[in-house]
Symmetry: D2
Subunit: 350 residues, 4 copies
């Protein structure tokens, strides 16, 4: 290299220089460690939460804490212990469980972080999205995208628990959080079986209403029904009943992801099937919806049952093996990674 | 609201609940402050660095610190004092000055964070980008995009100082940092006036070579010359010589931004002109290239001269007024904000 | 204007000039009439074909003409009498009825003109598209896009009649016709209820299989089922049962049209409803699938019943009024007009 | 195949059937010849026009025919003798030469067919495009896209001849011709060196003005200057001075073609160089701007000199060999063929 060798400079001079540099709100790059790493130095390592812990805690919160007390929502957020105490599951994704008891209302508001709900248990709840009442049942995926008014009502007689996925860490890191509380909700007498969103955009695959203008950055379809997802997975399995299959939840008007910031998928692993060890740039949260499996995550094998949740950090290697037929919901930041040209993946056949 | 009123629960019970919640790596949403704010709670407030500080410090580093010691580069990074000591100018942008002395070589490497160089002073330096030697001179914008090999050589007899802009904070927050050191560089005997990149993509406006395949996520043009930028700004001023004008640096094959993560612009403010108070979601760094102006930033007026640098945080209000003709280079994260559907702006005529 | 007045030149000189111009394979623009018209001088005026004529003729062809004699297909093409004898319904669209008897096979071939089938009557037929067996029933829309292998089999015991729509006139005008005969088809023992295309892309609205690569210029979904279309139209009517509704058949992976050259729609007009007089650039063929209505076309009112077909020329004004509930299939060249920037429409409330 | 063998039916019955079919405005597909051909049955074979014929005829028209007489324009259109007498060079492209004498004005109008001008000879002319005065000189490409007001003025003291390329045949085949005459033009006192379009969009490669909204279906840059094109070609040749090079004229804000319907290119063949035999779907017109070459077209070799024009039909094979350095302007319908998914090409190394 063409650089001249330096005499070791007088330490006093150097110390004074570094002091002056700091005083001027500067840092010398060469004194910084770990800025550029061979592979991502991912602080939030992958982490697992157990349904056997989550469910009873949610129930106890339901007994002891009202919604009015709860910042509008009774939510327990997944805290990745490697993220410095922040209520985040990964660097870009918020995961949580939400618990809503019969007769309760989580009042209307909107915020720039986009949210999605994957229902785990219960009945009788509906979410109003931009005025459109959307019924919720286990296995349903319900969207409340960025800056869209939403509120939750439990008109039934059982509590409901769902998984919340948000892009809050990402939107926060972009300093783009806006929030607005809504007016008190009038409770409608009856909730239609199908929301207007479903009437328009889920009538049938590949049919879109003439004359509608869907929104720009998220799916106009606010609910993806378990009945549909379940049947679609079964159909995919017909071709090869012993291999894992997966569906992506898509905007029916563009084929794009449900939001500009989050991708949702449903994976079905037949008993005995497994997936290849995989690493990708970007993070995911997996929620076991039914069945049981093991996950090999960063070299450690763990057994998972329904309701368990796994935060997979960027560039962590994972694979699944189903001990019985197993359905996995996945939310990831893949659309962000792809839009910014940062995609990278390895799939290995160890 | 339909929620039942709660009796104040026994504090012991609540305390035990919260302890158990924390034990399970969870946090109750209702105990968290400031998660959702009316407008962004931007931790890195806007900040200003002065050329009268930057330049002498860079020079002293040149005297005392060699490149070999310098983590490959002699770089002083702008540290926004509101970012907890991180070497970042804003939440998404890295800003720095780099100093390269005659005969020095900053050796080849590549990394997923994209970088751009806006030359402030000096001559005789050229940057090799994917093997293509790109000469550098004051006012030039030179790109070294994500995962592209690059190295800097000073073959002249004067030091060069340039501004470095990187998307490092963003790529780091996405856990997507990869780095690879390059082989030792052979120094080419002579550097062509025009790089191959310029021959292919800067021959003339709107002319693109048949049969070339430009890259997907960044401009194939690695250098935007000050001679061109200067003349283009002058031309824009002809229509109305008293109003500020601005150019965006674009990918000549798509019209998109120079990188998927960063937008670059050059603003020229005629003496006496001013800009309207503006706030946008997303952050910027402004570098005064020539002339003098004042900036009203978050209600505080400051005088700026050539070489001064300003980090403008998301949703901070700013406006400029030129005391003499003034040229401002700007880099921002606008492409990210737009791609994710988070754009918002106010422009007010106070 | 700055033009000089001319003396009337000697006719002999002019005649000689024009003769020399013609000899050189040139024409003087100023001698040409009707090159540039205020509005399109549409040669193929709109035209109507009657089911009471079409059906018996198709049946007689079935009795007298075999498939082997039939250029691979037993097809009667709609001839717009204003198109100089060409077998075209409009300037860009081919329309036809095809008739396939029990036991018959229309053998495999492929061609660059894209084709679609809208089934009018019959059962027991399936079309093999790229090896994928697609069952056909009345009301189904089946695609055989550009350069895709296809063949038709009637394994049932009744004849089937369907409407054929092709972009043949357009592709021919672009000198882009390619054709290839296929190998003799083995008849599969049994045809699955759902084609592979439907398993993958019609499992449910907004669900797309992970890991598939859909084609670039047409929908990967080859069949849109009447059961779905019918139900979707009914759902749209729930909001306002007295107004016409319409669905567009879309590529479920992009939201785009079924082909780059043709748009398909299904319109349902409740009894007593009508549509506003409309003119658009580009042409359409309407096929009455059920019910009865009147069409006001270029100022003439005509009664239509199931099976009737209407070619609507570019810039012709039309409106429908339903005397009883009426379902209309429509194919148009709208994607072409839109892609080339030639869209124009008027809708008037006379 | 599964078709039954037919007894030869009674001819009378068949004759009656065919008569009835024709009476019902139908045609039997199996009686039609040449609908689907193995490769395009291109009616307009390739054709060549000679400058030694074109130029004198244009001059004689200038002497004998005034603009007022000339349908607004003094234009001799290239008539491909294989196109049934239509004034078209290929199935989709209009080619012509236009001749404008000193003091003449071709008055303002607009039409949906897009037009482009490639200047062959002369000086002193400027074209007003949407009010923007655009000077013209030999080698310049000037755009007057679809539905854009335009007029031509010769303020100099020499006549000008340019090549006109239009998408008229295509737009006509889509029944999308609209035309509107403009008001009489006021002649501006002086024409600026650079049009507003060039100030905004041709300031420098990759620089676009902030705050402008370019149009949707064509380049906002109305002039591409020979000075730029010439220099750009020279630069491309530096890498390999003995091989042909080519540039595409692009929309500087999108990288797309100059219009949605036409692609323009400039090819430079060094003396002794040649191109590989090529066939593509879609048609082109080549105009020799300078130098000399031979073209092998459909197996026939012809010598070409400056001003000669060649219409190359779809799927015709062509190659060039330069006897001296040769510059070729090319306009083609490639954007249409590509947008509709009909692209196909062969390049062979005989």
């Amino acid at each position: 290299m063409g650089t001249r060798r330096f005499e070791a400079p007088d330490n006093t001079e150097l110390d004074q220089l570094y002091a002056d540099v700091a005083e001027a709100d500067l840092q010398p790059l060469w004194m910084l460690e770990g800025l550029m790493t061979t592979t991502p130095d991912v602080r939030p390592r992958s982490h697992i939460w157990r349904w056997k812990d989550l469910r009873p805690l949610a129930e106890r919160c339901g007994e002891l804490v009202g919604i009015s007390r709860g910042g509008d929502r009774r939510v327990l957020s997944l805290v990745n212990p490697n993220l410095g105490g922040k209520p985040y599951a990964t660097s870009t994704l918020w995961g949580a469980i939400q618990y809503l008891k019969p007769g309760e209302v989580a009042p209307a508001h909107r915020h720039t972080p986009g949210a999605l709900r994957f229902v785990l248990e219960g009945s009788g709840v509906w979410t109003r999205v931009e005025g459109d009442a959307v019924a919720m049942a286990p296995g349903d995926l319900v969207l409340t995208p960025s800056w869209v008014w939403h509120e939750h009502h439990n008109s039934g007689d059982a509590p409901m628990i769902w998984f919340d996925g948000l892009d809050h860490p990402l939107v926060d890191s972009l300093d783009a959080i806006f929030f607005e509380p809504g007016p008190d909700a009038e409770v409608p007498r009856e909730v239609p079986d199908r929301s207007r969103s479903e009437v328009l955009y889920a009538a049938a695959p590949g049919l879109v209403p003439v004359g509608e203008r869907p929104p720009a950055f998220h799916s106009p379809l606010y609910a993806y029904r378990w009945h549909d997802t379940d049947r679609a997975l079964d159909q995919l399995l017909l071709a090869d009943p012993s291999s894992a299959v997966a569906l992506r939840f898509a905007d029916p008007t563009t084929g794009g992801d449900v939001m500009a910031t989050m991708r949702c998928e449903m994976h079905r692993l037949p008993a005995g099937s497994s997936t290849l060890p995989t690493r990708v740039v970007g993070s995911s949260i997996f929620v076991v919806f039914s069945g049981a499996c093991t996950i090999d995550l960063e070299g450690v094998r763990t057994t998972l049952v329904a309701g368990d949740m796994v935060a997979v950090a960027s560039w962590s290697e994972w694979s699944f093996a189903a001990t019985e037929r197993c359905d996995l919901f996945r939310v990831s930041d893949a659309p962000v990674i792809e839009a910014l040209g940062l995609s990278r993946a390895t799939t290995s056949d160890h």
